[in-house]
Amino acid sequence: MLQRNATLVQKFGMLLMALSIIGLLYIYLPFVKLFLFPVNIVNDINRHGYFIEIPKINAYAPIVIDVDPWKKSEYLEKLKTGVAHAKGTALPGDTGTSFLFAHSSDVPWNITSYNTAFFLLGRLKLGDEVVIYRDNEKVDYRVTETRIVSPTQASFLEDLSVDQLILQTCWPVGTDYKRLLIFAERI
């Protein structure tokens, strides 16, 4: 009797281990896929709208313009389709501060090639290139600063007259504990 119970418990333990491994795979496979098979950037001469390209991390995504960064329900919906441009800041490529934000991670069933464009944003270093496309106009930026701040440190948005591009995502990847900020200036 005891032997049979021990076998049952043993099998149950194995079942838990198997389920946990499947769960982890389900969670992280999209990220592994993103890492191993980054989006294929095609130089589309017929593109319309705003796009961002970060060659170093193979990020390429459409930019959704005028997204309210303070309404979570709104920006979460918009982030499903690309990188969000914060309403009230300069349009990407225009003079002034343009603030873009996107997911670094999401729940597995929401992850696509475009909505986690900033998954590898933390790999950017000073001098790396960021490209903004406005239709077929190309505006080049170069990373000048990286910063990790707490979610409430928004003072960098107080002066929007500075001609710069700010990219933001959550940090570390898979959490919303901190915010990773990438500052870039026009070349």
Partner: protein
């Protein structure tokens, strides 16, 4: 022909020009920052400014102009023989009296308050932070001007009073024309102009980066009362007496040709009084809350939500302006959450599940006691 011309010009310009600049500027920076969780901070500022400007001008002017022009009063008597001709020249008199007194200028354009900068930032969770600003300013401008002016202008022009008597021959008397152009101008007496535009306050309020559950309140109440009182009093007496004569010519008992021709009289007299001019110019900066320092859209949890109101009443030539700004927020401005903590939680749950399974897998079947413990733990 002779022309006798006289011009009299009298100008009285004892003007008083006073430019007064009043400054009620004050600069304040109030910061509640870096307090710990659960702390309670309160800053209350009460200030009052009073500025008073008084100007008094009292001027008395007494002008007397007496002009006499005479080409007449000629007598031709008891002449024999040739024709007698008396031909007087023209008489031309111009008198101008100008009084320009009591000019007052009050320029209070430097009454714009320096910006008050209020920041409630970086305080801990559950903290209570209150800033209360009360400012009242009272500006009083009083102008009193008194002008007493007496102008006496007496013009006497004569080309007549000619006499021709006891002459032989014909007598002809021809008088000239008289033209008098007298003007008294009191067009700009007691003129006051008060320009008032005031806000005089500027407030920048920022509630940012405070912890969740914190309660932050900024209350500001600025009141500016401006009282402008202008009293102008003028007592002006103008006496313009003009005597012009081309007549009263006498020709008696003449037997021959006598001709008397008087010249024309042209009199121009102008009395101009310009008294008690006031210009009170109070041009404090209009209230302009400006753009919030942070993005213009209303943030989640409320970064700065405020109402502004302004209104005023005036009495005694004055005006007042009051306004209030209320900014309140619960919580701070939080940057967009672009990560998912669910991912981390799911990872932890799976790891725990894996460890539990591993534990069950390795510990099962070793001993009844251990098995019991394991089962209890598992369920």
């Amino acid at each position: 022909m002779k022309v006798l011309g006289q011009k009299y010009l009298l100008m009285v310009l004892p003007a008083t020009l006073i430019a007064f600049s009043s400054s009620a500027a004050h600069a304040e920076e109030l910061v509640i920052s870096g307090n710990g969780s659960g702390s309670a901070s309160e800053v209350t500022v009460n200030s009052a400014n009073t500025a008073s400007i008084t100007q008094s001008n009292d001027t008395g002017v007494n002008n007397g102009v007496f002009a006499n022009s005479n080409t007449g009063g000629n007598n031709v008597n008891a002449n024999n023989g040739e024709a007698v001709l008396v031909d007087t020249g023209n008489s031309q008199v111009g008198v101008t009296v100008v009084n320009d007194v009591n000019s007052s200028v009050v320029d209070s354009s430097d009454c714009c308050a320096q910006p008050t900068d209020v920041k409630v930032t970086g305080n801990g969770e559950g903290s209570i932070n209150n800033v209360n600003i009360q400012n009242s300013s009272t500006n009083t401008v009083t102008v009193n001007q008194q002008a007493n002016i007496v102008n006496t202008v007496n013009v006497n022009a004569n080309t007549g009073n000619n006499a021709a008597s006891n002459n032989f021959g014909n007598v002809t008397i021809q008088t000239g024309n008289i033209k008098v152009d007298g003007k008294i101008l009191n067009t700009t007496v007691n003129v006051s102009k008060v320009n008032f535009s005031a806000g005089g306050l500027s407030l920048s309020a920022l509630i940012n980066g405070n912890g969740s559950g914190s309660a932050n309140l900024i209350t500001a109440n600025f009141t500016t009362d401006t009282i402008v009182s202008v009293t102008n009093s003028s007592d002006i007496v103008n006496r313009l007496d003009i005597y012009a004569n081309t007549g009263d010519n006498v020709a008696n008992r003449n037997g021959g040709d006598v001709s008397i021709k008087t010249g024309d009289i042209l009199i121009g007299a102008i009395i101009g009084n310009f008294a008690n001019h006031n210009l009170v110019d109070i041009d404090c900066c209009d209230f302009d809350p400006g753009d919030p320092a942070t993005p213009p859209e209303s943030p989640r949890g409320g970064m700065v939500g405020g109402t502004t109101s302004g209104g005023g009443s005036s009495s005694g030539g004055g005006s007042s302006l009051s306004g209030s700004v209320l900014a309140a927020a619960v919580g701070g401005l939080v940057l967009p959450a672009t990560g998912s903590s669910a991912l981390l939680l799911a990872t932890i749950a799976n790891v725990i599940m894996f460890l539990m399974g591993l534990y069950l897998r390795l510990r099962s079947g070793r001993s009844p006691a251990n098995l019991t413990l394991t089962l209890q733990f598992s369920f």
